[in-house]
């Protein structure tokens, strides 16, 4: 399935990067403001769906570079990996670990296993939906 509408294609080229950036923005700010890995993953998936509708499945696969199944698997691995540091630190599994890295100037960079986990959710959601969509479009 491939659309030949010039308007859709042009619009998709402009919108898609914005959507992807927005999805990362949602992912990162999720801990304090509305957003998070799940929502971010959904937005990213919709970006790729839009692209797939305009340019076809083949080019979407090329754009993704990796198979959506692998995205899903990496997402699950991130999810699991985020549980390991607490185990190594002798805490209960799934205890959140936080690290604050000083940035030049005043700010701090807050890093945490929670963020790793949220990235895992993001990738898993994206991978699942792309598996669905690409599978269905190719069948």
């Amino acid at each position: 399935m491939k659309s030949n509408t010039l308007i859709l294609r042009t619009a998709a080229l402009a919108i898609m990067p914005l959507q992807l950036m927005f999805s990362v923005f949602l992912l990162l700010r999720g801990h304090d403001e509305p957003g998070g890995g799940f929502i971010g993953g959904l937005v990213a998936a919709s970006a790729f769906v839009l692209y797939a509708f305009s340019f076809g499945v083949g080019s979407t696969r090329k754009l993704l570079r990796v198979s959506p199944k692998d995205l899903l698997a990496v997402g699950l691995l991130f999810g699991l990996a985020s549980t390991i540091p607490s185990l190594l630190a002798g805490e209960a599994m799934l205890t959140a670990m936080w690290w604050q890295l000083p940035l030049p100037g005043e700010g701090y960079l807050k890093l945490s296993t929670v963020l790793v986990f949220d990235i895992g959710v993001y990738l898993a959601v994206l991978g699942t939906l792309m598996t669905f969509v690409i599978g269905l479009m190719e069948s």
Partner: protein, 769 residues
């Protein structure tokens, strides 16, 4: 350190594919460094437990669920850990040669290392749940290893059989362990062993003991579950040598020994063990004597050893437990060696059939020399360690509290048969006239002989100087199993006494029996065929067939392929049960108060209702999908209105993507073939209205009733304090309830794989001509 020691096998397994590329054909030697260093590490722990004490090494895992990765090191677990890591070292070296150039060698090492780590975890775990997890891991890795030659139907079948028996027993064991946790209120072996609570008098004791016994019996191939073990010989020989003789099958024995001091000493426990052990012992030796494949013979003699070990625990006296520990070590040493030699024979001659081998001592002198030592230990001939064990077995049976003479007689019979089996394994391939084998026999390579040679030398050394292992390890092990201080006195020479007489009798009778082996063989084969028709394995096949039939019947009934019926069943069952509970617990209270509603709330409600009605009456699929989308957006509006932006955004995105997915599916569907009849439509309407009414009543009831205090306050108060996040929804998802979310993304993954399989399989079907 201990945690790393146990888990290092898993970590190294991850690296195997890369290492294989780097080290090539020396991969076996390279990987063997891990178990070798583990052996050294465990040996270093010996001084800590030499006086019969124990070490408890604590690691958190999931404290909220009572699950920890605590490790209990005492004589018993250390004997097992040392056996696993030391024999594992040689097996890894051996497998490198045995499977040289095999396409899946890297995969083999991945599973093998995982198995080794699981087995170490099993014997060292203090926590019952962790123990069970490792127990199941050994079943699964064993399954993968038996079915290693996965293109062979027979191997797959045998693997599945092993998995069904051991994992089925595992389920029963889990029930038993949970009952044990109920009885003692503790998840820890150390607590259970040291607690004063009388387990025997508890109401659950009988049930717990039976469940645990069944679990242990399936794993350790006791009659009537013994049939999976010889079939497991479909695995490559290194696997048979490691899993199915020296380690995994002893997991059940380990459990029995571990719990003996707290659960034993009742007639139920000790009599069951004695009867099952004796039957297994006799069955094992008889079947070993009547088989012709060298691996089968060894497998059945393993069944004999497992039966003897069970019997010894059942007898349970100080002497019997000492015999148990000696037999355990002796058997692991000689059986590991014999299996590796059998693999060498198979590898160099191309056949496993004993009747097709002969005169190999000329072409394989080293192999036959090492086999000689291992076989002497198997037959229990001085000065090998097997002799020490055998003498102790006879002595303990003669002094057994009940049925001493009967048990001794049975032990004597199986000992006679075992001597014949030992002769069979040694004289048949190495002596007699040379026979033409599929491959020109020549000496096995060094890497295949170092393992058996070392193990056999240990047999010899332990036999000549039994006090060395005794002082270091065996005495603490006996103390740990017996649950009290025990002083053992091992010696090679006890003087002329009844056990020695029995040994001599068994040697003579066994040799005579071996001389008649050729003549007896046809008769035994007939007996085995007849017994095979009514034996436990036949029952297993009947049961599997029954399961398939029942599964087919209920699938045809419940999954008949009509989506409408699935939906009806789901909705009726769900809302029937919910409605019943609601009605019986709460009754029906209708109180609707619309007075504080705003006009736009009514507007949203009207939008939702209109969309629903349109979706159900339209004849266009696209139309109904689109109006379902409108419905979803309406719900999103409600979320946003009641200030739940996260939910609102998620709902919007999910609705959008759902519509897209549905459109993609609809695109492919043919037009409707027929619409449902008016009667069917009335039925569907009735069900739909019923579901809607129940759901509405439930929602209203939720607002009124509160069985528990709300936990929202806790989240609101602690979200920023403890989890450094201001968005409570997200904090709950990724921190407070991370385990749930982790489970959910895995479900998501499963769904994706399911859809992928469905779409792909369908697509492939269409491509077929």
């Amino acid at each position: 350190m201990m945690l790393l020691a146990v888990l290092s096998g898993f970590l190294l397994a991850l690296a195997v594919p890369v290492l294989y590329r780097l080290t090539g054909r020396y991969i076996g030697w390279f990987l063997a460094l891990l178990p070798a260093s583990l052996t050294a590490y465990f040996a270093g722990l010996i001084p800590a437990i030499r006086d019969g004490g124990s070490l408890l090494i604590e690691n958190q895992w999931m404290p909220g669920l009572g699950v920890s990765l605590d490790f209990l090191v005492d004589g018993l677990s250390l004997v097992f850990a040392l056996l696993i890591s030391s024999i594992g070292t040689f097996i890894l070296i051996y497998a490198g040669s045995y499977l040289k150039g095999h396409r899946d060698l890297a995969r083999f090492y991945v599973i093998m290392l995982s198995f080794m780590a699981s087995m170490l975890g099993l014997v060292l775990s203090d926590n019952l749940i962790a123990f069970f997890v490792f127990w199941e891991l050994t079943s699964i890795t064993s399954y993968l290893l038996i079915g290693f030659n996965h293109e062979d139907v027979e191997a797959r079948k045998c693997a599945l059989q092993g998995l069904f028996v051991t994992a089925g027993g595992g389920l029963v064991l889990m029930a038993g362990l949970i009952l044990l946790i109920f009885i003692t209120g503790s998840y820890s072996f150390a607590d259970i062993l040291s607690s004063d609570v009388s387990i025997h008098d508890h109401g659950y004791y009988t049930a717990a003991a039976i469940c645990i016994l069944i679990g242990a019996f399936t794993k350790s191939a006791q009659v009537p579950f013994h049939f999976w073990l010889p079939n497991a010989m479909a695995a490559p020989t290194p696997v048979s040598a490691f899993l199915h003789s020296a380690t995994m099958v002893k997991a059940g024995i380990y459990l029995l020994a571990r719990l003996n001091s707290s659960m034993g000493e009742t007639p139920l426990w000790s009599h069951t063990l004695m009867v099952v052990g004796t039957v297994t012992m006799i069955t094992g030796t008889y079947l070993a004597f009547s088989s012709t494949g060298i691996k089968k013979v060894l497998a059945y003699s393993t069944v004999f050893a497992l039966g003897t070990l069970t019997l010894m625990i059942g007898v349970g006296t100080e002497l019997a437990i000492t015999a148990f520990v000696c037999m355990l070590v002796a058997h692991s040493l000689y059986k590991g060696a014999l299996f590796m030699l059998a693999g060498a024979l198979d590898h160099e001659t191309g056949t496993k059939d004993l009747t097709k081998m002969g005169g190999l001592r000329r072409s394989m002198p080293w192999t036959s020399a090492i086999a000689c030592m291992a076989v002497l230990s198997l037959a229990g001939i001085p000065p090998l360690f097997g002799f020490v064990a055998k003498e102790l077995i006879f002595e303990s049976l003669l002094n057994a509290p009940v049925g001493g003479w009967a048990l001794t007689t049975f032990a004597l019979v199986s000992s006679i048969l075992l001597v014949a089996v030992a002769c069979l394994v040694f004289f048949k391939p190495f002596f007699g006239p040379p026979q033409a084998t599929p491959r020109q026999p020549h000496e096995a390579p060094f890497s295949m002989l170092i393992g058996p040679a070392t193990l056999s030398l240990f047999s010899l050394f332990f036999g000549l100087a039994p006090f060395v292992p005794e002082v270091l390890l065996l005495n603490p092990a006996v103390t740990a199993i017996f649950g009290g201080d025990v002083q053992t006195a091992l010696a090679l020479w006890h003087g002329v006494n009844i056990p020695l007489m029995l040994s001599v009798v068994s040697l003579l009778a066994g040799s005579l029996l071996f001389a008649r082996w050729q003549a007896l063989q046809p008769g035994l084969a007939i007996i085995n065929t007849v017994a095979g028709r009514v034996g436990p394995e036949a029952a297993y096949f009947r049961m599997m067939q029954g399961i398939t039939q029942i599964a087919g019947w209920q699938t045809r009934l419940l999954q008949n392929g009509v989506l409408g019926v699935y939906l009806l069943t789901l909705v009726l069952v769900t809302f029937g049960l919910t409605g019943y509970t609601l009605f019986s617990r709460n009754g029906i209270h209708l109180s609707l108060d619309f007075s504080d509603g705003y006009f736009y709330e009514f507007g949203i409600a009207l939008l939702i209702v209109t969309a629903t009605v349109f979706a159900s009456i339209t004849k266009s699929r696209l139309g109904s999908v689109a109006s379902m989308g409108v419905l979803g957006f309406g719900v999103a509006l409600i979320f946003i209105h009641f200030s739940a932006p996260d939910l609102g955004i998620t709902q919007l995105l999910v609705e959008t993507l759902t519509v897209i997915l549905l459109v993609l599916v609809l695109f492919k569907l043919p037009p409707f073939a027929s619409f449902s009849s008016p009667l069917e439509r009335c039925r569907d309407l009735a069900v739909a209205v019923f579901a809607g009414v129940v759901m509405t009543l439930l929602t209203l009831a939720v607002l009124d009733i509160r069985y528990f205090d709300s936990i929202s306050r806790y989240y609101i108060e602690n979200s920023y304090e403890m989890a450094f996040g201001k968005n409570i929804v997200n904090v709950i998802l990724v921190d407070f309830r991370q385990l749930d979310t982790l489970g959910e993304i895995f479900v998501l993954g499963l769904a994706a794989i399911g859809v992928y399989a469905m779409v792909k399989l369908k697509a492939e079907d269409q491509h077929k001509p």
